[in-house]
């Protein structure tokens, strides 16, 4: 096509000073600084911290939750949320345990765990997209429903007797101190990074989070993408269920209680806007690491878990508040 105005059009540069990049870098830089600071404090505070096995053990504190956080980040960027992830773990673990009683083999167990997670994700996704219900409401109810089913099946019993080979997923090491859980998390982080930041799908997720109506008007299949995102969180919860069950070697319906809020804390600490529309995988990975460092470091000092959670809570608010306060201060100074 030719140009309508033969008079020269104004040139618009692609970028001025990479404002978007530098803003993102700013956030992640802050997280890196926090992580390094905590690492240094930890190594001074406890003589046991700087030890490869300690550091390896540390990763178990966050890998399972962080796996879910990767998918949750996408969901929250798209403007939705899933509070039922911990309940999905409970249900998936229960059904795996049930399968053990029928003598299923390790690969079948893994398959069952993942499929149950996926199925729960589909259920959430359909309720949200087909009935147009707010996801926070849907997943508050499925949170009771999924765990409730686990309680119906198991009651006060526990399933155990998982095959010996099943223990690998939650307790095995791929290489030296690198556990299977850690390796899986790192691989998943790369996959999610590419998915969110390097593909059309990821762009659609951002578009939906910023303006779902305009995205729909632009030909983005909003409902389908949201459904896929719920499936992904379901899937990751299923995978986490396999890991936790393998690590505990048994199943109770109360497994993974309260994980949902920790996962969301991780995502938010990672700089994902809870209102949707912005965030990065790098941030989430850093946030997972920070939470692991804080809980493990304080654990080495035998600080009770609940006191650690004060630190995590403060960190959450401070890390979000600091840039805001800083910007406001700079503007005043200017």
């Amino acid at each position: 096509m030719s140009t309508i105005q033969p008079t020269q059009a104004r040139h618009i540069p692609d970028r001025l000073d990479r404002p978007l990049r530098s803003a993102l870098l700013g956030w992640e830089a802050l997280l890196v600084a926090v992580a390094v600071a905590i690492f240094i404090i930890n190594s001074f505070a406890s003589p046991y911290f700087l030890d490869v096995w300690s550091l390896s053990d540390l990763t178990f504190n966050f890998t399972e939750k962080a796996l879910i956080a990767l998918a949750m980040a996408l969901l929250i960027i798209a403007g939705e949320i899933d509070l039922s992830v911990a309940a999905i773990i409970a249900l998936a673990s229960t059904l795996m345990g049930m399968a053990v009683q029928f003598g299923f083999s390790t690969p079948a167990l893994v398959g069952i765990g993942i499929c149950v997670g996926l199925a729960c994700g589909v259920f959430n996704g359909l309720l949200v997209t087909r009935l147009g219900l707010p996801s926070i409401v849907v997943t508050i109810s499925t949170m009771s429903l999924f765990r409730g089913i686990a309680f119906i099946i198991l009651g006060d019993q526990a399933y155990k007797g998982y095959p010996a080979s099943f223990a690998f997923f939650g307790q095995g090491y791929v290489w030296w101190v690198v556990s299977f859980e850690l390796a899986l998390f790192l691989a998943a982080a790369v996959v999610y990074y590419v998915l969110l930041h390097r593909t059309n799908f990821g762009r659609y997720v951002f578009a939906i989070g910023n303006n779902p109506v305009a995205a729909q008007f632009s030909g983005v299949r909003v409902d389908r993408i949201k459904l896929v995102l719920f499936c992904l969180t379901g899937l990751m919860s299923g995978i986490a269920a396999v890991l936790i069950t393998s690590r505990l070697g048994s199943t109770r319906p109360s497994i993974a209680q309260g994980y949902e809020l920790e996962v969301i804390t991780m995502v938010v600490l990672g700089g994902v806007s809870i209102l949707g529309g912005s965030g990065s995988i790098a941030g989430v990975v850093l946030a997972a690491l920070i939470m692991g460092l804080v809980t493990f470091g304080l654990g080495l000092l035998n600080v009770p878990g609940i006191v650690m959670s004060i630190f995590v809570g403060l960190l959450l608010i401070l890390v979000i508040a600091l840039p805001l306060v800083w910007r406001r201060f700079m503007r005043k100074a200017a």
Binding site: M1, S2, T3, I4, Q5, A9, R10, H11, I12, P13, D14, R15, L16, R18, P19, L20, V194, R198, T199, N200, F201, G202, R203, Y204, F206, A207, G209, N210, N211, V213, A214, A215, Q216, F217, S218, G219, V220, R221, G277, S278
Partner: protein, 513 residues
């Protein structure tokens, strides 16, 4: 509170000396944008001052400063000769300033009466809200506006868009204000309602109120305004009395050059039928819609606001589900079950509500433009930024977008420039049929001509265009044929051969000839 009470009467016809409101040296910057620079403005009692300027000239920003929503970085505001500060919207109405904002800003879930009185509701002796008095006063206000048909107890959500707008006007009137500001008040109203609004403005004038009237439509300005003030790029570039000033002068002040306001004559070959819609129906919105669109044709859709034109177009574009009817492209019936389907087939829809449906605020310009075309710019699902930038540059530059870079958030652009991004986005998909819903709504005169020229260009290249518009000159100037809709059905179809405005208005309103 009724508009008649407690107002200062000025002797009619007497030369007005003292301005009621004066602004001087007002400046306002947003991050990266200097919206206003050293602006001054005076409003006189009993007079209507028109504020004109291109998109992004800073008109709405000034309105927001006057109503206490934004704080100016510098400058002075005086009401009736005393300098005031307006730290909040409340402070503004205490100083007798009220406004009808560009965006309809009301409360969908609340009742009409409450929408009118929220924030200044009548109280009982105990300081609680006096619902009874409030309803009565709301009815009174609506009555004075000639909108007595609106139920004060109805939920705002259940009202038509025009009635909502009347409620917004009612809200402004319920405050016993000396200074009334109207930011593009006619954009959502039909001809009949615009007439009523003009009567109201006359009435306010006679009451001695100072009125600031913002519009991009010169016919309205000449009709109602006594004075003008022109903004360009955030600066005041001229003011004076309307009588004795020609439209050409105003345009020149606005854009800094003269602009042809003639609709470009397009001489495209009208080819075979491209799109054929038959018996398209929806349970509640429209019924039995059938029309055809030919290659190289501009098909105008005219109707009063709320006639259902947008809904029909959204159905054609796959956004709204239909209950019955078919859409055929090149003679083949196609199923359009989502926007994505429509886009794939080359049918695109440029929506009317830019902010809600058009731009994705939060994403940069280039990502907005490439959003529907990602499949083409990417390599098997993976993003290719270079392709996206190239695509975005090509189309935004053609539309003469004013932006500092393509990575800028669209949210920082003015309304008119946002509209350009939306149009660029759709052109970039290389469509066959493009549906433009109110394409020049809220667009300044310079850009308007560009959009019209562009439409001519499109059809010349063999595209087919459907243009939904409520502006008669635009419909008459641009369309080859005109479909008139009324209350969800097609009322008439005309060839644009010496078609006159009156015929269209009669058909749209259902008045027999």
């Amino acid at each position: 509170m009724d508009a008649k009470a407690k107002s200062i009467r000025t002797d009619e016809g007497a030369a007005v000396s003292q301005p009621l409101l004066t602004l001087s040296g007002i400046a306002k910057s947003f991050p990266g944008v200097r919206a206003l620079r050293d602006v001054s403005l005076s409003l006189y009692p009993g007079q209507v001052t028109a504020l004109i300027g291109e998109n992004g000239a800073g008109k709405s920003t000034l309105v927001k400063i006057l109503t206490g929503i934004y704080q100016p970085d510098a400058g002075d505001i005086s009401v009736a000769g005393t300098s005031v500060s307006l730290p909040s919207a409340h402070a503004a109405f205490e100083h007798g300033i009220t406004a009808i904002h560009q965006e309809t800003v009301l409360f969908d879930e609340l009742s009409v009466a409450e929408n009118i009185f929220l924030g200044h509701a009548p109280r009982t002796r105990f300081g609680t809200i006096d619902w009874k008095t409030m309803r009565a006063q709301a009815r009174e206000v609506l009555e004075t506006l000639g909108a007595g048909h609106i139920d004060a107890d109805a939920r705002l959500k259940d009202l038509g868009i025009a009635n909502k707008h009347l409620v917004a006007v009612g809200r402004a009137m319920s405050i016993d204000a000396q200074i009334v500001i109207m930011d593009e008040p006619t954009a959502a109203l039909s001809a009949k309602e615009i007439e009523e609004l003009f009567l109201l403005i006359e009435f306010l004038k006679n009451e001695g109120k100072a009125v600031l009237f913002i519009s991009h439509k010169f016919d309205e300005i000449y009709r109602i305004a006594d004075r003008y003030t022109v903004f360009r790029d955030g600066e005041m570039v001229g003011e004076g009395l309307i009588p004795g000033t020609s439209q050409g002068d105003l345009v020149k002040l606005m854009v800094g050059r003269s602009v042809d306001q003639i609709f470009p004559k397009h001489k495209a070959e009208i080819g075979p039928t491209v799109l054929e819609v038959s018996d398209l129906s929806h349970p509640t919105e429209f019924d039995g819609i059938g029309f055809e669109l030919r290659r190289g044709e501009i098909l105008g859709f005219y109707g009063l606001v709320g006639a259902g034109r947008s809904e029909v177009m959204q159905a054609v574009a796959g956004i709204t589900r239909t209950s019955r009817g078919t859409i055929a492209l090149d003679g083949n019936v196609i199923s359009v079950r989502s926007t994505a389907d429509a886009v794939e087939r080359g049918i695109v829809y440029v929506p009317e509500e830019r902010g809600k449906q058009g731009v994705v605020i939060g994403l940069p310009i280039f990502q907005n433009v490439s959003l529907p075309s990602l499949k083409r710019t990417s390599g098997s699902g993976f993003l290719r930024l270079a392709n996206e930038f190239a695509l975005a540059r090509e189309y935004t530059e053609r539309l003469d977008l004013r932006a500092s870079s393509l990575s800028q958030d669209v949210g920082t652009l003015s309304g008119g420039n946002q509209q350009k991004v939306v149009i660029a986005k759709w052109l970039a998909t290389a469509p066959r049929v493009i549906i433009l819903d109110e394409p020049t709504k809220g667009i300044d005169i310079g850009s308007k001509a560009a959009v019209h020229g562009f439409m001519a260009e499109l059809v010349a290249e063999g595209l087919s265009v459907i243009m939904v518009s409520s502006e008669l000159p635009e419909i008459l100037g641009m369309s080859d044929r005109v479909v008139v809709m009324r209350e969800g059905r097609i009322a008439a179809v005309y060839d644009n051969n010496g078609l006159n405005a009156e015929t269209l208005v009669r058909a749209a309103a259902g008045i027999a000839e």
